[in-house]
Structure formats: C-alpha cells, structure tokens
C-alpha cells in the first residue's frame, strides 16, 4: 500500500480499515535553492503508514532520508520549496502554519534525533526539559508534570529517575541521554515518532537496548514509527516495512521480510552486499558499490543509480524507471532490469562480458 498515488488507491482498503491509516505522503518534493542551483533533496516521494507500524527509511548520507522526515514534520529552513501533500489523519500538515504545527509537534508527532548531546539543552536540568512539553501542551501543573516525568524516566529504564531529574545532560552517558530524549519525545503521547538515526552515535550494546526500548514503547502506545537509518542490520530486526532511498527518491519499498528475501533493485542488493558480515571468514573481499551518489543539482537523466549499477543498460541511462509492482503485495521498485529476474540476469551478463569502465573512488 505504498508507492506512488496509483498504488495507494489500489490498496485493498477493505482489508485494512481506513481508520488505521495515520500518515499519507503523496508525491512530496523538497528542493533547496542554493547559489549553485536547485538541490532536489527529495524528489517525488509517496508512502503511507498505518498506526502502530514501523517504516524503516534506509539510504546513504545525502540520499534525502533525513530531509524527507524533516519535510514531513515541517522542520525546514527558509530556502526551501516544498510540493506534494502530507496528510496526517484528517489534517494536511503541508498546509499548516507555524502556530498550528507547534501544537501538533510533541502531541501528535515527535522526533528523536541522532545526537542526544546536541538535542538536549546543556544548561537546563533534565526534569525541566521533560516537564516543559507536559506543561505547555497538556496544561499540567508543576507537581503533576513532575510525577509524570518520573514515570516517563522509569518507563525508559533509567535507574534512579528521581535523582536524574535534578541532573544536567553532561552528567549522563550517551545512552542515558538518548533515553531522556526518547522520554521527552514520548511525553505527550504522540501517534507518530520519527527516529532519525537514533542509535548511530551509540555503542552496539547500548544500541540494542535503545532499539528494544523503542519497540516496547511503540507496542504499548500503538504508536507508529519512521526509523531513519543507514544500517540494514537495524532495519532487518526492527521494522515492518522498508523504503530504500537513493538520490531523493524511494527506489524500492516492501515489507521487511519480502525485501530481504527477494530484493529487486540492484542498489538495495549492492548496499546489503557491501556490509562486512560476521558469517564470512576474516579477510573476505567486500563487494563495493563503484563511484558515488549523483550530484542532486543535476541528477542523471535516466535511472539515478545507472552510473554505478552493474546491471545498467542503454535504456537505464536514457529513461527513468517508474515505481512498478513486484509479485508480492506491497513490494514496489524502480528498475528496468531487476535483480532476480531473467531480464536482470541477461543485463548483468551482458555487462560482465563487455565491462564498462567504472569509477573507483569513494
């Protein structure tokens, strides 16, 4: 039920009651005006998200995944042009003014950022930072808000929550700070949480604790989540559905298991193959993606991945592939010669037989 508009309307609504749908993004484009020209950071993205579900948004730096989440929330600087629609329940986020958005942030949609140190105010006690949204949005009095803050800290597994409330961010470790940021995001009971690389700045042992915490909280609150990450390992274990972004577009989207079992887009396959895996013996040669992502000031005319793609043919360099449906429901991809099909296999063999020179650098 994801993809461009035609896929959205074709989704079997009778199977999924309409009220389950929380967020619907349609043909969203976000362009930055810079002295060098227009940067198409997000270029025609559509997807829908149901209550309580998790969408993983994967891509390399510069693929537009963070701009997409900020664009949906309306957290963008002035030099930006936004087109398309963002519907949240019955509200059009893209048409809201700053004041309306302000009442929406925190209570309906919240966000957890990558770096917990810079998203907390260093000169304000933890307690005050948690009670602030409670008092502002929910109109609680001080005592009520403090009780609630205590409960929130306990719910994100912070030991000695009473003492923590009186501490400053620098007195906490990175993992604890991220828990505080999550507690603040959850304070007013949002229906949708954007987690933008929430564990990238943390150690692996802490990462698994934070991801488990997000999952539990999500389940308890029937909260939907968009998990933005570059780590396919994180996505595999913690999402219902995955959208892979490349150069400002969704290039493949599918339920998580389907995606990993039968990926169609060569970029997704290449991304997965470039990760060092524990299952491989040491000194295994890694498969690399040649070259680097395109310049978003002037993206390639055809498929945006074509210059780096081992499957690319003349058609890919000329004609941009549309999102098309795969066999499994809800699986869409953007490729003329998909992985795991006869067409794709032929294209790959043709390229291997007559190797095209490819860039080396990164």
């Amino acid at each position: 039920m994801i993809g461009r508009r035609e896929h959205v309307t074709r989704a079997p609504d009778e199977l999924r009651p309409y009220s389950r749908r929380l967020l619907e993004v349609d043909d969203l484009a976000t362009h930055f005006t810079t002295p060098r020209g227009k940067v198409r950071a997000v270029d025609g993205v559509s997807f829908a998200l149901e209550r309580g579900r998790t969408l993983g948004l994967v891509g390399e730096s510069g693929s537009g995944k963070s701009v997409l989440s900020r664009s949906i929330m309306g957290l963008l600087p002035g030099n930006v042009e936004r087109q398309g629609s963002v519907a949240f329940e019955d509200h059009r986020l893209d048409q809201m003014g700053p004041a309306e958005l302000r009442s929406f942030w925190g209570t309906q949609i919240a966000m957890v950022f990558q770096d917990p140190m810079t998203s907390l105010n260093p000169v304000m006690r933890i307690g005050r930072q948690i009670t602030e949204p409670l008092r502002f949005h929910l109109g609680m009095d001080r005592r009520e808000a403090e009780k609630m803050a205590l409960a929130l800290l306990a719910s994100v597994n912070i030991p000695e929550p009473g003492r923590r409330l009186r501490q400053y961010p620098h007195e906490l470790s990175g993992g604890m700070r991220q828990r505080v940021v999550i507690a603040i995001a959850l304070a007013c009971g949002p229906k949708l949480l954007f987690a933008d690389e929430p564990t990238t700045a943390l150690d692996v042992t802490v990462q698994s604790q934070i991801l488990d915490l997000l999952r539990t909280q999500q389940r308890e609150r029937d909260m939907a989540m968009v998990l933005v990450t570059h780590d396919l390992g994180v996505v595999a274990g913690h999402t219902d559905e995955v959208a892979v972004m490349y150069a400002g577009q969704i290039v493949e989207q599918a339920p998580t298991r389907t995606l990993f079992a039968s990926m169609r887009m060569p970029y997704t396959a290449a991304l997965l193959q470039s990760i060092p895996r524990l299952a491989n013996a040491s000194h295994t040669r890694l498969d690399v993606i040649a070259g680097r992502p395109p310049d978003l000031l002037d993206p390639p005319r055809g498929c945006r991945f074509a210059p780096r793609c081992p499957y690319a043919q003349d058609r890919c360099r000329e004609e941009p592939p549309p999102l098309q449906e795969a066999d499994e429901p809800g699986h869409v991809y953007r490729c003329w010669f998909p992985v795991g099909t006869e067409r794709g296999q032929e294209a790959l063999e043709r390229n291997l037989a007559a190797p095209v020179p490819q860039g080396v650098d990164g």
Partner: protein, 341 residues
Amino acid sequence: MAGSGTAHLRPAEATLLRLENLDVEFPAGGGKRVSAVADVSIDVAPGETLGLVGESGCGKSTTARAIMQLPPPTRGKVVFDGEDLTALDGERLRAVRPRFQIVFQDPISSLNPRRKVGDIVGAPLKIWDRGSEAERRARVDEVLEAVGLDPDTARDKRPHEFSGGQCQRICIARALVLDPKLVICDEPVSALDVSVQAQILNLLEDLKDRYGLTLVFITHDLAVVKNVSDRVAVMYLGKICEVAPPDRLYAEPAHPYTAALLESIPVPDPAAPVRKAGLAAGELPSPLSPPSGCRFRTRCPRAQDRCAAEEPQIRLVAEGQYVACHFPLVADEPLPIKGSQ
C-alpha cells in the same frame, strides 16, 4: 575480563610491536586519577593486523595514542622494532616516528582545509627533507595513485572538494608517504557510509599487501574488525578480556563480554532469530573507581564471589585463544554450582 598477564605474548623477536604492562592514567579533579588503560600487554607480528575492539571508554584509542607516545604511557613499555619508545625522548623519538603513522576517525577534520592535497600529502617528505623536489612529487603521485585517487586532478584541489571517503584516502596517502612499517588506524571507517566503508576496507587490505604494512586497527564495529584482522583483542574498561584469531573468537567466544558484544550486533536478515544480549543491565562503571577483581563482573551474567576478590589472569583456553576470566565459556569448565546462568 578485566584481566592482566602476559601469557598471550609471543617471543619478542617475532614481533614488530610489543606493549608490556601498559598503564595510562590521567589526572582527574580532587587529586584522583583515571586509569584509562591498566596493565595491558599485547603484541603484533610483522605483516599482521591486530584488531582492537570495545565500547567507547574502553581505552582502545588511548592505547593507540600511547603507542604513538601521544601522550606516552604512565607505566609500561612500548617496544617497536626492538626499541623501547618510552625510553626515547626528544630528537631520538622523533627519528623513529616516520616508521609508525596513524590514521584518525574523522578524515575531514584531520586535513588542513587551506592547503592543497599535494602539499598535505607531501608535507612529511618536506619535513624530513627526503629527495629532491621532483622525487617528492613523484612519491606523492605514487601514493595518491595507490589510494585510488588520480594524482593529476587531486594534487591541486583542497580537502573540501572531496567526499568523506576520498578525504580518508588522502589521510591514508599521507600516512603512507614516508613508507612506514606500522600504521595505526583509529576508527578509520566509522564516519563513512557503508558502501564507502567497504571501499576503504578493501583499500587497506590492498595497501597492506603492496607495502608490507603491519596494522593496528581500532574500531567498535565487530563485523569490520573480523573482516580485516589476523588477531583480535577485546577490551573492556582499560583491560584486555580476550585475544584470539577472528574466526575462532566469533565462532566460540570464551569471555562472557565478547559473547555479549557479538549478540548485540544487529544482523541484516529479518529471519534471523531474535537474540538476547546476555548483559546485565547497567552502564560502563566509572574508570575513576573501577570494580574490584574483574572489572566486568558488575555486568557479567556469570559473575561469582571469586570475581570480586581476585583479578583474572590471561590464560590459554584453546589454540591461539587467550582469555582473562575465571569462568570462561568453554565446554569443559562448567560454572560452579552457585552460579546462575
């Protein structure tokens, strides 16, 4: 873990680098001292890659810096190529420095934004007054080409014109230009995207063969370290827990901390069974007052009374596998009855 001992060291003549009972302490407020690295011994054979893994704060970067004598360790020896670096000072230490180099985590902040790439990479040659102008230029071109950059286009550009991965290539070229024997890589791929990370890891393997390098590779990413290393040392709170060849370490970790680390890595496969990291809740204890006995005992699922009383010594548990633990995860050494798994 928190173990000491030197059982895992090989004969001195077979190693290029040998750290013996290394301690690094930093002054903390109130006359206290933080012990960042405590009694660490490890060695690296010529042509080998040693992987140092651990969470932030475990002392892996401090160990790297102690090898570089930046700053020198508080106690202990750093024997490099038969010479104890801690005994050298001033000009004598400077004279050995060209033979060991370091590559840092953030490639962009380790390059001077105002200088041209050719000058950055050529600076070490100039400082050491190696060769003529033309020879230096030829050497710079050679290393730039070796790291996969086109010397003619790269030479006159400045760092901001390159991506993060390319900047890391420039840093590697600069480290190689003096033809060092040992290169310490401190989280060289942590700031890079996965696709670029793979390119840099492959590059390091190629360069190791081409120039006969010995590498010390520091990272928090266990999959990366497995890929590049010949021997892996796992650190926790300033101590070494386990030393083993990577395939052995990952297949049968003997230290409970190694096992917990391995279990917390997310696997890129949704069908993989959900694993539970066997790590007691809680945080890394403060290195200002580390736990008595084994430093890992406060988070260890196998901890016993003995772990608080007595620091485990590193000992051999399988071929090439050394562990500092009283109750390692090896089949023929079951936990005493009191234990709870």
